[in-house]
C-alpha cells in the first residue's frame, strides 16, 4: 500500500535529480521525499475520517463521564480518553480545573493530561505508516500505562495537598456535591452527516495547519540522521542498550520539545540506525510529554512540589520503559 511513496521518491531523487542511491545526499533526500509525501497523504485522509467519527466527543462529555467513576476504571478511562479526545495543550489549565471542580480525583485528571500529548490519532497513524502495527501497539499500550500508573501514584501520595488553594477548594466542593451530582444527564444531540462533515473539514484544516511544520522538522531531522550519521556509529556506540544510555536519552529529550507528529519520523530514523527500541522510546516520549512550557503553565494550578513530583514521575517512568524494552526488545 505504501510502495507508491517509495516509487515516487525513487523517481524524483534517483531519476529527475539523478542522485546516486548510495550517496549521502541521495539517501537523505530519498528518506525526506518518501516520508513527507506519505505523511501528508495519510494526515489529510485519516484526520478527516477520524474526525467524522468522533465529531460528538469533547472534553465536557469526558468530564461528565469520568465524574463518579471508581478509581481503577477511572485511571484506565482517563488515560483512554486522553488518547482519543482532541485536545490542545493550551487548554490544559481550563480542562484541569473543569475536571477538578467536578470532583474527579487528581490522579484520574493527570492520567488524562499525561496520556493526551503522548497518544493521538495522528501519532498512531504515523507509527503504523512508518514503523508497522506491532510497534504502534507497544507504543500505545506503554503510553497509556504511563498515564495510568502516574495517576494512581499521585493519588496514593495524596497529591491534591499540593494544589494551589483555589483549585484544592474547587476539588473539595466538587466532591461534596458529587453525591447529589450532575443534575440532568446531558442528552447528546444526534449530529447530522452535514454537521459531521463540517466539523471534520474544519478539524482537518486545523490539525494539518498546526502540525505541518512539525512534519517537515521531524522528517528533516530524520533524514539528516539517516544520511549523515555514519552507518554503524549508533549501533556501535549505543546498540547494546548500555544502561546509562537510557537516562541520558531521557535527559537529552526533556529540554527538546516536539509535537508527537514531529518525533515519529525521528524515531523511525533512530531505529533504522540501530538505536535499541527502549532507548528510542525513552527519548521520544520524554521529548513529547515532558515539556517545560507546559509545566510552567501548570504552575498556575499546582504548587512546585506537585509539579516537581509529576515531572519526576515522568522521568522515572520513561527511564524504566527504556530499560524494560531494551531488555525484552531483542525478543520481540
Amino acid at each position: 500500500m505504501f510502495a507508491i511513496f517509495t516509487a515516487l521518491a525513487d523517481w524524483l531523487v534517483y531519476g529527475v535529480l539523478s542522485l546516486a542511491p548510495q550517496s549521502r545526499l541521495g539517501e537523505a533526500l530519498h528518506f525526506f521525499v518518501e516520508d513527507t509525501s506519505k505523511i501528508f497523504v495519510l494526515l489529510l485522509l485519516m484526520i478527516y475520517v477520524i474526525a467524522l467519527l468522533r465529531a460528538s466527543l469533547n472534553v465536557e462529555k469526558v468530564r461528565d463521564y469520568l465524574a463518579g467513576k471508581n478509581r481503577l476504571t477511572g485511571y484506565l478511562l482517563g488515560s483512554a480518553f486522553g488518547a482519543v479526545t482532541p485536545f490542545c495543550s493550551c487548554s490544559s489549565i481550563p480542562a484541569f480545573l473543569g475536571f477538578t471542580s467536578a470532583g474527579i480525583p487528581i490522579g484520574i485528571t493527570m492520567a488524562f493530561l499525561i496520556t493526551s500529548p503522548l497518544i493521538n490519532e495522528v501519532a498512531v497513524l504515523l507509527l503504523v505508516g512508518l514503523l508497522g502495527w506491532q510497534f504502534t501497539l507497544i507504543y500505545v499500550v506503554v503510553g497509556m500505562l504511563v498515564g495510568v500508573v502516574s495517576g494512581a501514584f499521585l493519588d496514593a501520595i495524596h497529591a491534591e495537598r499540593w494544589l494551589q488553594s483555589f483549585a484544592a477548594k474547587a476539588l473539595q466542593r466538587g466532591q461534596q456535591q458529587q453525591v447529589s451530582c450532575c443534575g440532568t444527564p446531558q442528552t447528546l444531540p444526534q449530529l447530522s452527516w452535514q454537521a459531521r462533515h463540517d466539523f471534520a473539514a474544519a478539524e482537518t484544516k486545523e490539525i494539518v495547519g498546526r502540525v505541518w511544520k512539525w512534519v517537515f522538522i521531524g522528517v528533516g531531522l530524520g533524514a539528516a540522521l539517516h544520511g549523515f550519521v555514519p552507518e554503524g556509529w549508533v549501533a556501535d556506540h549505543l546498540g547494546q542498550g548500555q544502561w546509562w544510555s537510557v537516562p541520558l536519552a531521557v535527559l537529552i529529550g526533556v529540554p527538546l520539545y516536539s509535537n508527537v507528529t514531529g518525533i515519529v519520523p525521528v524515531m523511525e530514523s533512530l531505529l533504522q540506525n540501530g538505536l535499541p527500541v527502549g532507548t528510542t522510546l525513552a527519548f521520544c516520549m520524554a521529548t513529547v510529554a515532558a515539556s517545560f512550557p507546559e509545566f510552567v503553565l501548570l504552575k498556575q494550578v499546582m504548587q512546585w512540589r506537585l509539579l516537581a513530583s509529576v515531572f519526576g514521575i515522568l522521568l522515572l517512568a520513561f527511564t524504566l520503559i527504556g530499560w524494560l524494552f531494551n531488555l525484552i526488545g531483542p525478543m520481540l
Binding site: F87, C90, P94, A95, L97, G98, F99, A170, L297, Q300
Partner: protein
C-alpha cells in the same frame, strides 16, 4: 453596551480571537468593550473547559475554538 470577554490562557488562538472580535466590533460600529481574561480561577468560574471561549454580558456563548466571523456578527446583532 455589550461587555465582551475572551477567556484564554494566552495561547495564540485566544489572542487572535480577541483581535478578530475587536475588528468586527469596530467594523460594524457596535457599542461594546472587548477584554481578555487569563486568570484560571476566573475562567473556572465560567465553567469553561476549552479555550478560547467568549463571554458576552456574563453569558458563555462559545468555547473550544476560534469563532467564525459570521458567528461573531450574529452575537453582536442580538
Amino acid at each position: 453596551m455589550k461587555n465582551i470577554i475572551v477567556l484564554g490562557s494566552g495561547c495564540t488562538k485566544c489572542v487572535k480571537t480577541a483581535e478578530l472580535i475587536a475588528e468586527v466590533v469596530k467594523e460594524h460600529g457596535v457599542a461594546a468593550t472587548v477584554s481578555k481574561e487569563t486568570n484560571p480561577e476566573v475562567i473556572m468560574g465560567y465553567g469553561v473547559m476549552s479555550t478560547p471561549a467568549v463571554v458576552i454580558d456574563e453569558q458563555v456563548v462559545h468555547s473550544g475554538s476560534m469563532p467564525q466571523k459570521a458567528q461573531i456578527e450574529a452575537w453582536l446583532a442580538k
